[in-house]
């Protein structure tokens, strides 16, 4: 039984369609990430699962139960909002216990639960403080604690790390993943950051805005390895990976695929017009195997452990990723070669992945 199931979901605001034909099955205990650019409907879909959105058709199930018309409080979900949504006039303890007090639970039980959860998120000494006296990271932990104390079937996270600085974001990514392992709960996490998506998700749902999508916003739903190494279409290939994949316009001629003078293995069933993609880490500099061209080094970004090279070639601009030991100078003309077994082919008309 799926923890969360979306079937045929359409969401519109007035005459504007935001989500169309969305089908998703999320397994119990899974950490699923919804990732995509602004306007792709990821937060809208999350809010739909929470029961905070109207204007939709389709079916939503949580724990096998259809919840289309069920009140948000009765869906057994808890949500952590982007801006935390803490009640500024209440203490940390009161924020965490808000729902329990509403439900009229016993004082002793409330106190014990609040203490336990506060200890879990490292806030046991902050219970008397108000959100205004806390740092951004501490406020986020309060929001997390408020969700945890409900013991929901599904946790919903709406870009919870986007307001934190980069250093703390990395810490919280690890802590959220650890929390997922400890609790074993189903978690649905929305982000526009593909690093969060790749590092945290068991599976990633890559969503696109409808004007770029087509039949459905859902471009691919797979493991991080699948979306990275076997992107289902051009949108996923362009979105996932930093720096992005290199793309070239190519043509299929029987058993070959050509990009200018370059030749790659092809097949007769391939469409005539193709887009070839190759990730920067599969582009080699200097001598090596595979088809090659000569390129001019236009720039380099030295990240210490690796370098990103920006090269101008006859086929267009190419970005290559090498180890930090590789050394060239801006203006150098060097050989740029491509690993043929790492090429991705896409039908230029439909954008869909094709296999040799």
């Amino acid at each position: 039984m799926s923890a969360v199931s979306l079937q045929g979901i359409d969401i519109s605001y007035g005459s504007v369609d935001v989500v169309r034909n969305l089908d998703l099955d999320i397994r119990s205990g899974e950490f699923v990430v919804f990732v995509g650019p602004s306007g792709c409907g990821k937060s809208t879909t999350l809010r739909l699962i929470a029961g905070l959105e109207d204007g939709r058709s389709g079916q939503i199930s949580i724990g096998g139960r259809i919840v289309n018309d069920v009140d948000p409080a009765k869906r057994d979900v808890a949500m952590v909002f982007q801006n935390y949504a803490l009640f500024p006039h209440m203490s940390v303890a009161d924020n965490i216990s808000f729902g329990m007090r509403l439900r009229g639970e016993a004082k002793e039980k409330i106190q014990a639960s609040v203490k336990d959860v506060a200890r879990m998120v490292g806030l046991q000494d902050q219970l008397h403080k108000r959100p205004g006296a806390l740092s951004g990271g501490q406020r986020q932990r309060v929001a997390l604690a408020r969700a945890i104390v409900r013991k929901p079937a599904v946790f919903l996270f709406d870009e919870p790390l986007s307001n934190l600085d980069a250093e703390f974001r990395a810490v919280m990514r690890y802590e959220l993943s650890k929390l997922h392992r400890e609790l074993g709960s189903t978690m649905i996490y929305v982000t526009h950051d593909q690093v969060e998506a790749m590092t945290m998700g068991d599976r990633i749902a890559v969503l696109a805005p409808l004007k770029q999508a087509g039949r459905s916003n859902l471009m691919q739903f797979g493991t991080p390895e699948e979306v990275y190494h076997r992107p289902a279409n051009l949108f996923v290939a362009k979105f996932i990976g930093s720096p992005p994949m290199n793309f070239f316009d190519g043509h299929a001629n029987g058993a070959e695929v050509s990009i200018g003078a370059l030749r790659f293995p092809g097949a007769s069933h391939l469409p005539a017009d193709l887009t070839l993609g190759i990730r920067p880490e599969h582009v080699g500099l200097g001598t090596g195997e595979g088809p090659s061209v000569t390129g001019t080094v236009e720039g380099v970004e030295n990240l210490g452990h690796e370098k990103l090279w920006f090269l101008a070639t006859e086929q267009g601009r190419v970005v290559a990723r090498t180890s930090g030991a590789v050394s060239h100078t801006v203006g150098d003309r060097i050989s740029v070669h491509f690993a043929t077994d790492k090429i991705h082919l896409f039908d230029r008309e439909t954008g869909e992945r094709v296999e040799v």
Partner: protein, 275 residues
């Protein structure tokens, strides 16, 4: 910038502010001196600047027929008027903040128009109605008719304060199981408390100083302080000393209220100024 130019830049605003304060406060100072002087000194020309204060005008004003009753009537009318305005205004402001309320724009425009209408428009029709339902010359009747301006004002002001409260708070409360009433009472009202306080203060000042409607719709039992002060004017003479003392007495509550709550007023009125 040179030091002298910088000093001039600092001095000018202070000088202008001093002049503005002097102009605003001088009439009150003058009334206070008339209340504290005897009859001869009060209107002496040139004015008597150094004098021994006399307090009998205050005693005379307070004990004059109907004055203390009118004072408490005004307090009660302000209290009831604010309770009625908030009881209806808070839920109205909450709902009118939601984008999907049908007719929202029309309602808001209607509220604005009713706030801008002159008060005497209501007097004739309400006089007849109040007489027939027994609300004429009652404090509750007065508090009800004052809703004509306090309620739209309350809704407009509170709507702005509520708009500054992120909707995510209401959504978070809803996910926890809070009803709409609980959300308004436990989330919106406490957060908007400075704004509510500012609204109460401004409504109170308006109701306290109101004369036209009180003159038309009260007679004796529900007479307010503004009418009581006017009552010191006799057919042949005016008891300036007692009238001045009465004026000072009626200024005091609102002045004290404003002084004690001025931080709340500024806080409330600037709530939406900076995100």
């Amino acid at each position: 910038m040179s030091r002298s130019a910088s000093s001039r830049n600092t001095l000018w605003p202070y000088a202008v502010a001093l002049v503005a304060v002097a102009i605003s406060l001088f009439p009150i100072y003058w009334i206070l001196t008339i209340a504290l002087k005897n009859r001869v000194d009060a209107f002496a020309m040139p004015p008597v600047w150094l004098f021994s204060p006399v307090w009998e005008n205050f005693g005379k004003a307070w004990s004059s027929t109907g004055f203390s009753g009118a004072f408490f009537n005004s307090l009660i009318v302000c209290a009831i008027g604010n309770v009625l305005a908030l009881a209806a205004g808070i839920p109205a402001a909450y709902y009118l903040n939601k984008k999907r309320v049908p007719g929202r724009r029309t309602i808001l425009i209607w509220l604005l128009i009713s706030y801008m209408l002159p008060e005497f428009l209501f007097i004739v029709p309400m006089y007849v109605l109040f007489q027939s339902v027994g609300l004429y010359d009652t404090v509750i009747g007065l508090a009800l008719i004052y809703q004509v301006f306090t309620l739209p004002f309350t809704i407009w002001l509170l709507r702005a304060f509520f708009a500054d409260i992120p909707e995510a708070l209401a959504e978070a409360a809803r996910l926890e199981g809070a009803s709409t009433l609980r959300i308004v009472w436990t989330i919106y009202v406490p957060i908007a408390a400075p704004g509510i306080a500012a609204t109460v203060i401004l409504n109170s000042i308006k109701m306290w100083n109101e004369l036209t409607i009180a003159l038309a719709l009260t007679f004796e039992k529900a007479q307010t302080v503004t009418l009581a002060v006017a009552g010191f004017r006799g057919y042949a003479s005016i008891d300036w000393g007692a009238m001045s003392a009465a004026s000072i007495i009626i200024i005091l509550p609102m002045a004290l209220f404003a002084i004690l709550a001025q931080r709340r007023i500024v806080q409330g009125l600037s709530l939406g100024a900076v995100k």
